[in-house]
């Protein structure tokens, strides 16, 4: 009985520790996602590197407006389906 009890206790402790570790990493990832959503488009700009290559890369990474038509088409489909 004692051995069985001990094994069950160890398993429970291990499960609790595993759940804690998983939760720690999940919440960290979740927090990171949350912070990413709140970030602005200038956050990854390195103001100290003003070389032409770096400025060119910054320009390349500027978001485009290509998804506007997609959003409007989706809205149009909803209106047509009403």
């Amino acid at each position: 009985m004692n051995t069985k009890h001990l094994i069950v206790s160890i398993i429970i402790i291990l499960v609790v520790i595993a759940a804690g570790v998983a939760w720690y990493f999940y919440s960290a990832e979740y927090l990171q996602d949350y912070l990413m959503q709140g970030s602005d488009a200038t956050e990854n700009i390195d103001y100290e590197d003003d070389s032409a290559a770096e400025i060119s890369a910054d320009l390349e990474k500027t978001p485009d407006d290509s998804e506007l038509n997609g959003d409007m088409n989706s809205l149009d489909a909803q209106v047509q389906g009403f």
Binding site: D40, A41, T42, I45, Y47, E48, D49, D50, S51, A52, A53, E54, I55, S56, D58, L59, T62, P63, D65, L68, D71, M72, L75, D76, Q78, V79, G81, F82
Partner: protein, 235 residues
Amino acid sequence: MKKIHKYLFLVVIAAGLASYSSLVFAEDSTVQPSQNVRATAMEAREAVKNRIEAQKEKIKEAREAAQAKAKELKEKAKNRIEEIKDKKKKETAEKIASQFERINKIWTDHFTNVLDRLDAILQKIKSRTQKAGENGKDVTLVNAAITNAEAKIAQARSAVALQAQKTYVLNTSATDPTSTTQEALVTSLREQFKVLKKQLHTDLAALRDGAMKSAREAVKSTFEALSNIPGVDNE
């Protein structure tokens, strides 16, 4: 002989002191530019940050004022949708009615983000132009392009703020009040939704292809003018 040794000793000490002081000054002169670069970068970051905050506040106020103004119209539209008896149709109508403002907010926020980024990039172009000027390069064209880009960004920011304060609410007075049948009510609302969707698309596309495109092109042209300067990256 002792005297010579004494003089030699003094000369060695003096030479040692001179080389030490020259090392100190050399160290100072190497630290100075990097400190300047850091200070200029911090100033640029601060300037962009202030403009971003000011624009955010401006858009927030514009949105709040527009929401307050449209409150009555929204209430009327809500009541009109409530008249739909088909539960599924009613839910769809409510969803569509909320989509217009959601899309407008997403896109005005997106345009603001793009302008913030262009503004930050322009600060870097200005910093590089200043260095090129100090190195004796001709930066007249770049400076003219910078002034133009700053004006275009400012114009685009105003246009985005104007767009953010627009509301897209069902005009219940335009829906047929005599539409007593459910079918007539749905048809009337559908037509209104089409009008709103067309208006929103026209407004956002005009902003994208007008002020936003001009700002993007102005910053791009400024960078092109800068990269045309030979040895522009020389410190």
